[in-house]
Symmetry: C2
Subunit: 358 residues, 2 copies
DNA sequence: CATCCAGCCGTAAACGTTTACAGGCGGCTC
DNA sequence: GAGCCGCCTGTAAACGTTTACGGCTGGATG
């Protein structure tokens, strides 16, 4: 009794076979009287089906995993917030893997798919999809959605969809805007070049400058980590090297936060002396003073799209791989206000932590 | 082949029985030669054990769930960040349930324990542990850790530990501090009274005032939701009703954010005219301007403690229920700076998104 | 050479479901 | 009244593991 009733227990009590019990519990056509007896016994025993046994038999776990670098990063939090309700609605449970951006760890998750503890996976590999990733995805034979760039030639049988954003366009939006408000010496605080976003944004910065007819100057670029203190360090270095910068493009909001810290510390006015743009448009952007203009890469949309693609595959079976591209957009706030407009009172965002799904 | 090899496949290829295969794979003593043959076959086939079948047989899933109101809330994010690495280290996977604070949903999670899809649960019920929660916990027969208040008389057999903080002390710390910096008309922006934290903080506010010899004035209290926009509304109402307040105690950081928005909008100086204190000491507190003095309720510690208690129970079997109390502390920043000290340059926190575990 | 023991190994059962298949029973038709 | 058909139900197999148990083999011992 300590072990909870099974369908066998119910069968005995109801005086029927376990097959009948199963049929009744699954709503298959059964004689009225049998149904009543089984239902009664199940109720009295407080029966709850064992999901593991069911999974073994049905070859599905009703679980889906989401793997990303760091659950503390607001971008991933935004994704989880969107993914969770979609999956729940469809009857799936959500597993979280925080990989610390460690490639070995990511591979572990992908390889783990073969243990069949989940029906599908959404993964956002920080350092890109390598040969080994691809192998693991093919070997998995469980659908995978990759958030981020995917190599060109995926093998035939790979059950993989792709959600990406176009951070190059995002950078361009930002630089166009800075140019439009009169900035000409635009510094760039980037993240590590061996991460996918870092590499993409480096290229995009250069191209955007070119499109604007501005010269590319190595001195205007500083590389660090995607964190606030690292952003502060980078900003300090850049500002001392090139005191005349009039704008800072930051590869994410946390870096921008660090930059704002330093600018304030040095008594430079934002946006009067230096305009600042962040990326990801996290909730932090509406908290700072001045509020932070930021490129939205649609984290929420990406999360939702990924969940949608995965569910579609799980429910409708095999099909051609699909790619969803989420367009970036620019949210203009106080840190790049046009001269004349008061940069101080960029109105705060709508809500800190509510909003989002439903 | 599309279905992946099982131990049966290996057994055939290696010319041994499935029992031997299992023994080899589990490292049980076996003849050298057999080990080699099995290992070889397993390698060639790319065998990976099926975790569902193993779970069924072993009666454990190596999965643990964490249920909280909202994964978007920085408090829970902090907890997850601590829980995840501890569990991973111990070989457990983490499932996330975001319940929206819905009591039905919470109960669903607790009842779901009987499906045995996880080995244990960490839950933080927003609206307290009801009779029904207790019933479900007892019926679960799987260990549960409750983060938050637990009713006095838990039944004998309940496999439940408890991690709590003492938000009353937290409120007292904050009010003592406000009193020490000369504030006498201290408003209180609370969250819903039917939530556990809301109710506790309401009482604590009243008692702390009393201890300080300050009168309790209903007009100084405003109740809303735990969100930023709600905090702004509440602040507006309170400020127009009692223009002379010289401090605002906020029941969480998001509310404090809303209050800061309103104070800035009305041109009141913080902390000159009005001092502000938040609660939870989330990363937001070091971002605002001025930076926000906040009561830390040790979210990270609570998460870590909860994971520890659960693992202990899973590894060492039954024992007396345990209670861990995490002491609150006050992090003083710019929003309550003593007159004289520059309230503007409260130094920014160490790092936005890194730090934490490991 | 018979006996015993240790060390390996294979058979089979068990975990708790779902479901193919076949058997039983009742009612209908001729 | 015999035969047939259809409905309902029970038996048993299957999902992929782990493990108790007993049997076989070989060497050591008397």
């Amino acid at each position: 009794m300590t072990d909870g009733p099974t369908i066998t227990t119910i069968a005995q009590r109801a005086g029927v076979s376990i097959a009948s019990v199963s049929r009744v519990l699954n709503g298959l056509p059964t004689r009225e009287d049998t149904v009543r007896r089984v239902m009664r016994a199940a109720d009295e025993l407080g029966y709850v089906p064992n999901s593991v046994a069911r999974s073994l038999r049905n070859r599905r776990t009703d679980q889906i995993a989401f793997a990303m670098a760091d659950i503390g990063n607001p971008v991933y939090v935004a994704m989880v917030r969107e993914i969770q309700p979609v999956l729940k609605e469809a009857g799936y449970r959500l597993l979280i893997h925080s990989t610390d951006g460690d490639a070995e760890d990511e591979l572990g998750v992908l390889r783990g798919l073969r243990e069949r503890y989940v029906d599908g996976l959404i993964i956002s590999p920080l350092r890109g999809v390598t040969e080994e990733h691809v192998e693991a995805i093919v070997a998995a034979r469980a659908p995978v959605v990759v958030i981020g760039a995917l190599p060109e030639g995926m093998p035939e049988g790979a059950l993989v969809d792709n959600v990406r954003t176009d951070s190059a366009t995002g950078v361009r939006l930002a630089l166009d805007h800075l140019h439009a408000v009169g900035r000409r010496r635009i510094g760039f605080l980037n993240g590590p070049l061996d991460t996918v976003p870092g590499a993409a944004r480096a290229v995009a910065y250069r191209e955007a400058l070119e499109a604007l007819g501005l010269p590319y100057d190595e001195d205007l670029v500083e590389v660090g980590d995607f964190y606030r203190d690292s952003g502060a360090r980078a900003a300090r270095t850049l500002l001392s090297r090139v005191p005349g910068v009039d704008a800072l493009m930051c590869a994410n909001d946390l870096i921008a936060l660090g930059a704002l810290d330093v600018l304030r510390e040095q008594g430079r006015d934002v946006p009067g002396d230096v305009a600042v743009v962040g990326m990801d448009d996290t909730e932090l952007a509406s908290v700072t003073l001045p509020t932070l203009t930021s490129v939205s890469l649609g984290s929420a949309e990406r999360g939702r799209a990924a969940a949608g693609l995965l569910l579609d595959r799980l429910q409708n079976g095999p099909r051609e791989p699909r790619v969803v591209v989420v367009r970036p957009s620019l949210t203009i706030r106080g840190s790049t206000a046009l001269p004349g407009a008061s940069g101080v009172s960029g109105r705060p965002g709508v809500s800190g932590s509510s909003g989002g799904g439903r």
